[in-house]
Amino acid sequence: MDLIKAAMQDVVLGQDFLTWLWFRSEKNGWLFSMPGSGEFNVFLEQRISVRGGSGDNVEKAVVTGPHAEFTEAKLGLRNGKLVDKALVRIERDGATWMVLLASDDFSLSGLKTPKIETKLEEGDDPDAPFLEKMMLLEQCMEFVDELYRQFLEVRLSTNWLDELRVFRAWLAEQ
């Protein structure tokens, strides 16, 4: 596939994924599970943006706020817009990751991992802070990959139309 066509499919997959993630996290009570690694929580909060239209007619609504209900963003969904960026908070065993996920290229902006100890004591491995940070960064990517895997499983199955029906019922409740 050429890169232009791939970029078009990036938008389709990325926006469907983030829109699904918003709804699915709420429906699941913000709980997801990863085979072999247990459960983790996923919250979409503080910042979400929705986008609709194409070319010169692109319209975007960015909704932010510490306790935002995202009413405007949900209104956007009802008008056919889809999520194109979302601030995602992931929690597991008291540890928290925050990342602004972009639908078009899955870039990870402002990724915050749980804090690491950067001060070294005598005899410590000088690479220890780096290795701990990498473990935390890769954990965050594993969470995102797992969520995306779960999305693809339903998106490419015959159950997708049922999932959309549940989505519409969720949207109507808001």
Binding site: L13, L77, D105, S107, L111, K115, F130, Y148
Partner: protein, 206 residues
């Protein structure tokens, strides 16, 4: 943006070719070969190359080796001389004035297009000697087990530069893990055609 910073922005890549044992052993050597060269004492407009992750002033990995467990670490340093357009304009006008002054003695007043270009080049060269390059550094970590690379930026120009320089340095292509390419790695090959034909879902309306 440093990998160790509290918050950072990242782009993910997969290396498209397999990493052979031979190449893996050559990586430090290749990093050194394509390391950053300082241009403070030159008039070059731009320079870029690899530096030590722990110390971006170190192009020789004296501070720490690039290998850390199963990771290869390095940073892309880019130094650019940026001269404000207004400064260029001013000094070009001064050069034109000086040229006309000098031409008075010969009775001529017309400056050809070629001569103007020449004057502009001279002005740029003089100005570049007076402006220090502005450094920028972007950390990269290559997980040699998963053969994936994490680059600490989402800037598209830097991404392109990184991808090209990575290819030049190691002879390996990078594939950014965007939704489409990520999906191709996750789902079974039998469903790849489905990914190509997907259309946006009608979330709002049946």
């Amino acid at each position: 943006m440093g990998i160790l910073a509290t918050s950072g922005s990242f782009t993910r890549y997969a290396v498209m070719e397999d990493l052979t044992g031979q190449l893996a052993s050559e990586l430090p050597e290749r990093l050194a070969k394509f390391s950053f060269r300082d241009i403070d004492q030159t008039t070059d407009e731009r320079s870029y190359g690899w530096v030590c992750l722990e110390d971006w002033l170190d192009s020789f990995w004296r501070t720490a080796p690039p290998e850390k467990a199963h990771y290869m670490t390095f940073s892309l340093r880019l130094d650019t001389r940026r001269i404000p357009p207004a400064v260029i304009k001013k000094h070009f006008l001064l050069a034109i004035k000086a040229e006309k002054e000098a031409m008075k003695e010969t009775g001529k007043s017309f400056i050809s297009k070629d001569r103007k270009e020449e004057l502009k080049d001279q002005v740029m060269l003089k100005l570049r000697a007076r402006f220090l390059p502005i450094p920028a550094v972007f950390d990269a970590v290559w997980n040699l087990r998963s053969n994936q690379v994490l680059l600490a930026t989402t800037n598209s120009k830097i991404k392109t530069m990184f991808e090209e320089y990575f290819l030049l340095s190691f002879g390996l292509n990078l594939e950014q893990l965007t939704p489409y390419f990520m999906a191709r790695r996750i789902v079974d090959q039998s469903r790849h055609a489905m990914l190509d034909d997907l259309e946006p879902s009608p979330f709002a309306a049946p």
